[in-house]
Symmetry: C2
Subunit: 352 residues, 2 copies
């Protein structure tokens, strides 16, 4: 059995005993019942993931996978393909949005070259794992082979395991790849059955006309390839991307090690759909950091049954939403662990 | 001219030049135009408040005002009145939700006794400024005198000034006071003209029947007192609270010193309505941290023209939403200051 199959098999349910204990403790803390809202829900999920009634969170890592897309040749993006590699260099120099937000959040950023077209320099923060030099143009045939899809997934699994061994408890997913909202739209259309028009957005900022063209390209990719919605590996192979495959692997590897997956926006959502298709249990380990401006993101979250923590009209990717949400996740854990109980504090309880 | 009038006169508009420069810089940073959504808007507001194109934020303080309410005698709360003083002791020992979240956010918490019924011990973190020992029962007459209302406001102004002199750039408002959602509902009903039924919620968690009773008490308070919606001082006097007055003063004092007001939820929103009524300019200095579960909060934010940063189903008060939002506000400033430009990073711009 390969790494992918072993990982999927290892993903178990949440620890119900720890969750029940966390829920009970929440109800003794010095606040009206339920007054911390979503923070209470998150704290209970954390207890279930980490398998302890009072979870404490250690290291934070953003795994940012970059890849290029053959479908860029169809003119679906506002930016030229060379920007993928240029932005990787920007990440390595610390100048991008994710660098700023990860520094603030105290999170390490690991950049993965999952399949950028150009050559990239060696760098201690760059993990070189090119599955190929960009995918094939999915409007004309499969984006990659099944073997490449498995390689991308297993790269992500191995990376997540490495970071967890290094102390990570919260792993955020991030992406970079010119044109990568196009395969993400194709993935959500294939898996949810929604029309491409409904789940194709403006990406980095294209016109109305370009958006209609992009939706037509997504439709063509689905017609040419017929991805099987019940086979997530087939969907990834035919209309996915190398960075999307790596991120789906990161998600599976994190869940298999009982750590917290902090999903970013639309491209991370596509990776989560693939991971969820491969292993429906995985979903219990996901926290949706934010709701993206991309219209297909809502459909993804609905399919996964997730409610986002933030709604800040972000559409940058890179893991920026996840970095912003990490402090909220930590806040949930801290309130559960550090607040006084009514008994400890000598505060009178509800009089009704 | 007294402190209140001088403060109101000192509140000027935002620095348009700094805002234009910040907006221009945002458009050169290595991200698609507008891709950081609300963070970009906040960064531009911060530039306008602090009067500099690349604002950097210093100290963070939560000013948490506590007070008791005569209207508690009408049975509007799920908790007995003694809980106000008990929770102040909990704040001073560091065991409440706000203590945990402020520690995480790196914010100092200043507790103000604005008018708690019981005696409180001396403590370095407690600022004793009892305007009275609880307000009068507003269902039977004015909650306080006009002189008391001015005293509460000026206490808040002086405190904000003290904290700003001590280095605070972000001031969050927090509250504690058994029954204080009742005057807050009365304030929003008086100022917005909404029916008490629409803006009266469950507070700390009361039944349907108790909620109807509470709305009837709010209606009675408005009928008995006839607060003048065009005179915010009259509204505060007749249906307000001592801690609400102090917080309205904190808001005015912060805006007058060109610093950032981070509003918490429903009670802070009532204070913001009073501050805005006294000085409509003040609104430019407000950041709404979150949308509370209290139904009247949406009406407050609509009246003030504010969009909340977070929606986490919180209903705890104490300044907890503000403490959670401070990292988001800081993130906005950091992205503007620290991200590389397209030119610096050698990244190609949009090809359209």
């Amino acid at each position: 059995m390969g790494l992918l199959d072993r990982t999927i098999k290892a993903i178990g349910g949440l620890d119900e005993t720890a969750m029940a204990a966390a829920r009970q403790r929440q109800d003794t803390l010095t606040k009206p019942l339920g007054a911390l809202g979503r923070l209470e829900e998150v704290s209970i999920q954390l207890a279930g993931i980490l398998g302890t009634p009072i979870p404490r969170l250690g290291g934070r890592v953003i795994i940012l996978a970059a890849g290029d897309h053959g479908v860029a040749a169809e003119g679906v993006s506002a930016y030229p393909q060379e920007v993928t590699a240029q932005m990787v260099l920007n990440f390595l120099r610390g100048g991008a949005g994710i660098n700023v937000l990860a520094r603030q959040a105290g999170a390490k950023v690991v950049i993965v070259d999952a399949g950028v077209v150009g050559d990239l320099p060696e760098h201690p923060d760059l993990y070189s794992a090119k599955v190929g030099r960009g995918t094939n143009n999915m409007a004309k045939g499969p984006a990659m082979t099944r073997e490449e899809a498995i390689k991308a997934l297993e790269t992500g699994i191995a990376l997540a395991q490495r970071e967890i061994e290094g102390g990570a408890d919260l792993i955020g997913t991030g992406d970079m790849g010119i044109a990568n909202t196009t395969p993400s739209s194709a993935i959500v259309a294939a898996i949810s059955g929604k029309d491409p028009e409904v789940v194709t957005g403006r990406g980095t900022g294209i016109s109305d006309e370009a958006q209609r063209h992009k939706a037509a390209v997504v439709r063509r990719a689905l017609e040419v390839n017929h991805p099987d919605p019940s086979d997530a590996l087939d969907v990834l192979t035919k209309v996915g991307g190398f960075e999307i495959g790596v991120l789906a692997g990161v998600i599976l590897g994190t869940a298999a090690s009982r750590r917290v997956v902090v999903l970013d926006g639309f491209i991370s959502g596509a990776a989560a759909l693939i991971a969820h298709g491969l292993c429906p249990n995985g979903r219990d380990y996901f926290i949706a950091s934010h709701l993206s401006v991309e219209p297909g993101h809502q459909a993804m979250l609905a399919h996964l049954g997730l409610k986002p923590l933030l709604n800040l009209d972000l559409r940058l990717g890179e893991g920026t939403g996840g970095a912003l949400a990490m402090n909220i996740v930590e806040a949930a854990a801290r309130c559960l662990a550090e607040m006084a109980t009514f008994a400890d504090a000598g505060v009178s309880e509800k009089s009704e």
